[in-house]
Subunit: 352 residues, 2 copies
């Protein structure tokens, strides 16, 4: 049984979405047990609508709900030990839950997760990893917004953690990893990215297959399983791509309603349009994974619906079942061991 | 008469595209006179196909053509004073041409442009400004690849130069300018971006209307006339958006050819599809403008066709006609004067 803690109050619509999503998830993954955190008077009436969920969950009342516009520091002051968001994360810390899911405000969720769960040994900074739909299927992109800027060692950590997540999610033995850059030649780009490339090439790891640099258009092509960048660029690239998808959808809508002929054409090709919509459906790839912490926390989009929330829960479920944390720990240890061995060899040379 | 120097050898297809593009441009802007630079034996036979262009141009032979994969330093060593790329730029320096256009390799073109034309007084670093199709029309985005990283003063220079370009291109009196960031709140993002925001707000300029921070999805929405960012993020955002557009086009193609019904629907709605294709046509927005130099240089996509090349020439033509350089110089001076006045006031306080 996989136990998942849900911040029922998080997101733009609260329990109407989070509990609907949890119920949907149960339908598909019947071995989940939910720990629900929320304000009783708001959540109870909604929970009554989902007998299946009611049966496979325990509800915990809490007084505080973190607002979507609250600053991380404010949320931490106001909501520590009392809010639905905090309690869901704390359930992971105490071992009552295997993973926590929240659609609440990202900054607050990350601040609380760091504060409550702490960083994994040897990891300096966390990352948020997102799932990106590509022409080949799906890729993992990180960091999409946990931090601003990253040095070479942090980019290396991101590569290892993203690789572990790819093995947990896609079940590939040795996922390909690329560093996002402005060109594929070795001399191009930020110093940090070039240095991370050198480190990854020299390490020659058996857990990931370092591909080299990739560019912005490789994201949609699915050139590699994992695309690594720092959070500023990653967040902007993600939103630029989402914005472009919406822009084209808008053009399509306008163009298809322009004449009787195009309206008729739209009706005939509706099945085809539905397939595209499904492929680009942001709900299907909902669920950002916080990497680098001692527990699994999943961030759902704030504005998603029950379907999207169920997808975020599914991501957490997969991460637990496929041993994400164990994989990350093992991979980090392997790299650090390799690194220490190398240093010892160099010490030999120096003292020998 | 607007005189435009063309690097006829630049790009993936050389004179077949550049001369076809120049001829198309002449058809639409008959007051252009072209200075063509290229290898005689390759260009002459192509030029013979375009009597109109032959009549309204002068051809200069040169021995060297810069390769698409040449490093900037190598191109500068090998092609200085001898290559078609260099000679086109030099024509701008000597005043023989008002602007230069090249589809050659970006790094080499920028290195040669900086070397030959030098930076405009008071500008530290150049930027490449691109035209971005939006739901509202078009925006200007810079920097899309001239530099890596930028401090607050450089972002401020980019804002002023982008604003001047918007006035030259869109003929708006006081274009809106936004700084690309990971959130719209003042506390979010890179320090450089936050500092640039403070400078722009305090300056309260009458040449541009500082909007504040914008996010990646504001690019496609057309929230502001000018979006400012440093070159690493700008380049990746641009390519991520282009990649997404191609990805959706690919989905559409696959979906539309899947069944007889959808094929029929496609035929009926073909007019609508053509309109979307036209809206997203990268050839229409071809032409990156090098800003911050003492002359106008336009970079065309290397893989474009005659239609796209004509669009790049048109951008150069508009920049000349609408006095881009004069606008940039005046705006920079205005800001610097304002800044010095402020400093003098502060000196009063210090010494008074």
């Amino acid at each position: 049984m996989i136990k998942i803690a849900v911040d029922a109050m998080g997101g733009d619509f609260g329990p109407e979405v989070t509990l609907a999503g949890a119920d949907k998830a149960l339908e598909r993954q019947p071995d989940i047990y939910f720990l629900l955190y929320g304000q009783e008077e708001i959540c109870r009436p909604v929970l009554e609508k989902y007998p299946r969920l009611k049966d496979k969950s325990v509800f915990h009342h809490c007084d505080v709900a973190i607002r979507m516009d609250e600053k991380p520091s404010q949320a931490l002051r106001r909501g520590r030990s009392t809010s639905s968001m905090w309690l869901a994360i704390e359930a992971v810390k105490t071992g009552e839950a295997h993973a926590a899911v929240s659609a609440g405000n990202t900054g607050a969720l990350m601040a609380m997760s760091k504060f409550c769960l702490r960083m994994m040994a040897g990891v300096e900074r966390p990352a948020i990893a997102g799932i990106w739909p590509t022409l080949k299927g799906e890729s993992i992109v990180l960091d999409i917004g946990a931090t601003i800027g990253a040095d070479a060692n942090q980019l290396l950590d991101f590569s290892l953690m993203g690789g572990a997540m790819a093995r947990a999610l896609f079940e590939v033995a040795r996922p390909t990893v690329g560093l996002l850059n402005v060109g594929v030649e070795e001399i191009k780009g930020q110093e940090e990215v070039k240095e991370a490339g050198r480190l990854l090439r020299e390490a020659n790891l058996d857990t990931i297959d370092y591909f080299g640099f990739v560019e912005g258009d490789d994201l949609g092509k699915g050139t590699v399983d994992v695309v690594v960048t720092e959070g500023f660029t990653g967040n902007i690239a993600l939103k630029a791509a989402e914005g472009t998808a919406r822009q084209i959808a808008e053009y399509l809508k306008m163009a298809m309603s322009r004449s009787w002929l195009s309206k008729l054409g739209y009706i005939l090709a509706k099945g085809a349009f539905d397939r595209i919509r499904e492929k680009m459906d942001p709900r299907k790839v909902n669920g950002g994974v916080f990497l680098g912490l001692t527990g699994i926390v999943i961030k759902s989009h704030g504005g998603t619906d029950g379907e999207g929330y169920a997808a975020a829960i599914k991501v957490g479920y997969d991460m637990v079942r496929n041993g994400l944390l164990e994989k990350i720990e093992a991979d980090l240890k392997k790299y650090k061991d390799l690194h220490l061995e190398e240093q010892a060899t160099q010490d030999d040379k120096a003292t020998g």
